[in-house]
Amino acid sequence: MEIFIQQLVNSLSVASVTILIGIGITLIFGLAGIVNFAHGEFLMIGGMITWFLVTSGMNFFLALVGAMIFVGALGFVAERGLFQFTLNRPMNGFIMSIGVSVILQHVVIRLFNEVQKTIPDPVGKVWVVGGVNVIAMRAVVVALTALVVAITYFGISRSRYGMALRASIADQETAELMGIPVRRYVTGVFVYGSVLAGLGGALMIALFPITPFTGSVLIIRGFAVSLIGGLGNVAGAVAGGLILGLVDGLSAGYGFPEWTDAYSLVVMIAILILRPQGLLGGTLGPRAT
């Protein structure tokens, strides 16, 4: 029984990192209409910046903030410099983002070499609760993610900014006519999503080593999570992340280990085909093609 609970506890922390990516993507994809395949690299860079700052002597949590700021700025540059020109042709934006991801991966290799990077566990404790080993850092990851989810959710649903955002996806032209600076909101959402990716990267390197290629492994997860939950739907991203995290954890725990990835792939395909609008409903994408 402890093993089962241990599996659940494990799944939660992995789901957290996936949720952080997923929220970023669901907001950017669903609300801003930008398909950014380099989002995984944003996360990786968040982790690399954290590593760089920590090994230079900075405290982990300060480095985490530094990473968030850096990646947020990176997102700003990317949106203003690249993605704003492809808003009307998201497929081009998608291909461009593949180019961006290749560039970012290799710039990181140039600067930091290709060997995996790691930092010592910032918290370092393991709590043993009733036969279950809870790694303290993982609990921190879950807590921070929950905080971010709460801020984002209430920000979108309650604040004026959030309402304006939702109006923008529902009908961009009308929103613009009503004085909502949609373009600025698009930039804002993009930067916010990037900041979340930076946070995700910092938390990730606190848990396990990362390489310049870590981002490309995670990105599909992020997209699947946001599509499963429903584009633009924060609660949906959380649900999607939890579901995939659970499927992963349980399939690794009880299925055939070498087929581990397959279970979540099948779940992704099934939900995408059977319920394209996502489990909790969302937009069908900026242009429902």
Binding site: I3, Q6, Q7, N10, S11, S13, V14, I109, N113, E114, V115, Q116, T118, P120, D121, V126, N133, I135, L207, F208, P209, I210, T211, F213, T214, V217, D248, G249, L250, S251, A252, G253, Y254, P257, E258, T260, D261
Partner: protein
């Protein structure tokens, strides 16, 4: 002014034409195909570094004396970009355009096999450090006329490596455990190398009396906790992280935190890396190096090698010792060429290599190739004192004389 410059030019001309009467060095063209970019770059770079070090040492010592002439090695290094198309193009270039006599590489089994299909018909020698070649090196393929007749496997046969490792691990761990270990779990990455290596290691452990469970994980896993928790539920005595080094370094700290087992073995993790990462465990941990440890080898000749290797600028990673799978063979090849007396007789060179005994750096006993062109040497296993990151105790167990039951050899 014009006359002066004309005079200078004339003088330079004359100077160039009058050369001291010494023998002109001949060139021995050798190729290297390795990943200098792409995802396998950390292994690929070690091959290049080893080649450069060996070449520099051979050339600085006066080159190779073959048939009355002195040959200096000219290295032609080609990046395969971790791409098979580029590997093949590079092999074609080296073999057909440049005309090398031998090629070292690659770090990837698939690429080495594709490359051998080019070097074989062209009678170019190939030295590959992939033990998985054992699956294709058989009587037919290495016979004269076979496609692998000119290919040599510079990594020991897997069942040998498995055998000597299993012995070493158990001999180091058993004294430190509360009761003799009976149940081992082997945890391996599910790619070509992982599948091949584990198939032999499991048999080796069973031959030592262990009851073995094999768990294969998807190669790009970063969060090992679900699988590690599952393994914990199996109540193992020892968990063997069998491949690869980078994944092991990710999984092992997670395993420690989850308290998965009373003892561990880490394949391909060098004591040097363990120390650098400041890993620490209160449970006994053993590790092995592929093929020798750079972090704490008891042999001065190995320490000296790594000192020179890192001095040349190579990066210190889990794969650094892979370089030794390539280094010694430059010297063996040079020796074979000297014996044959010509660079244009590849068949004779192959025969010379098969008969040769060479004392290299990679092994305390002389290197030899078996009839299937595979080299033999022991594996070093080290135990780190529990609670420390830098106190090691290493042992080298000779490989078993024959494959264990159920193991087809290869």
């Amino acid at each position: 002014m014009k006359t002066l410059s004309a005079a200078l030019v004339a003088a330079a001309f004359v100077g160039l034409m009058v050369r001291p009467a010494h023998a002109v060095d001949e060139e021995l063209k050798i190729g290297v195909v390795a990943a200098e970019s792409g995802s396998f770059v950390s292994a690929g770079n070690t091959i290049v570094a080893a080649a450069k070090l060996a070449t520099q040492q051979i050339n600085d010592a006066g080159g190779i004396k073959i048939g009355g002439k002195t040959y200096k090695i000219k290295l032609y290094i080609r990046d395969n970009r971790t791409d098979v198309n580029v590997t093949i193009a590079a092999a074609r270039e080296l073999v057909d355009d440049i005309g090398v006599k031998a090629i070292w590489g690659t770090e990837t089994h698939d690429f080495s096999v594709s490359m051998a299909k080019i070097t074989g018909p062209a009678k170019v020698l190939q030295f590959s450090g992939n033990s998985s070649l054992g699956a294709v090196l058989d009587d037919k393929s290495v016979a004269p006329g076979g496609w692998l007749h000119y290919t040599f496997q510079s990594e020991p046969q897997e069942w040998q490596r498995s055998g000597s490792t299993a012995k070493g691990v158990l001999s180091l761990l058993t004294p430190l455990m509360a009761h003799p270990p009976k149940h081992s779990v082997v945890f391996v990455g599910n790619d070509a190398t992982g599948q091949y290596l584990s198939s032999h290691y499991v048999k080796a452990l069973e031959a030592e009396g262990q009851q073995v469970d094999l768990v294969k994980y998807p190669p790009d896993t970063t969060d090992f906790s679900p699988l590690l928790t599952r393994i914990k539920g199996m109540n193992p005595d020892i968990v063997h992280f069998w491949y690869n080094g980078d994944s092991t370094l990710t999984a092992f700290p997670q395993a420690l935190k989850l308290e998965v087992a009373p003892a561990y073995f880490l394949f391909g993790v060098d004591p040097g890396i363990y120390q650098e990462r400041q890993l620490k465990s209160d449970k006994p941990v053993t590790m092995s190096c592929v093929p020798v440890c750079w972090g704490s080898s008891p042999y001065p000749v190995v320490q000296d090698y790594f000192k020179k290797y890192f001095e040349l600028g190579a990066s210190k990673g889990p794969q650094s010792s892979v370089s030794l799978l390539y280094y010694d063979y430059f010297f063996m090849y040079a020796k074979a060429l000297e014996e044959v007396g010509s660079i244009d007789q590849p068949d004779a060179v192959v025969d010379a290599l098969l008969k040769m005994n060479y004392q290299g750096v990679v092994s305390p006993v002389p290197l030899t190739f078996n009839p299937h062109h595979q080299v033999t040497f022991a594996t070093e296993v080290c135990l780190v004192k529990p609670g420390t990151s830098d106190e090691f105790n290493c042992t080298v167990e000779q490989p078993p004389p024959a494959p264990p039951p159920g193991d087809t050899g290869g």
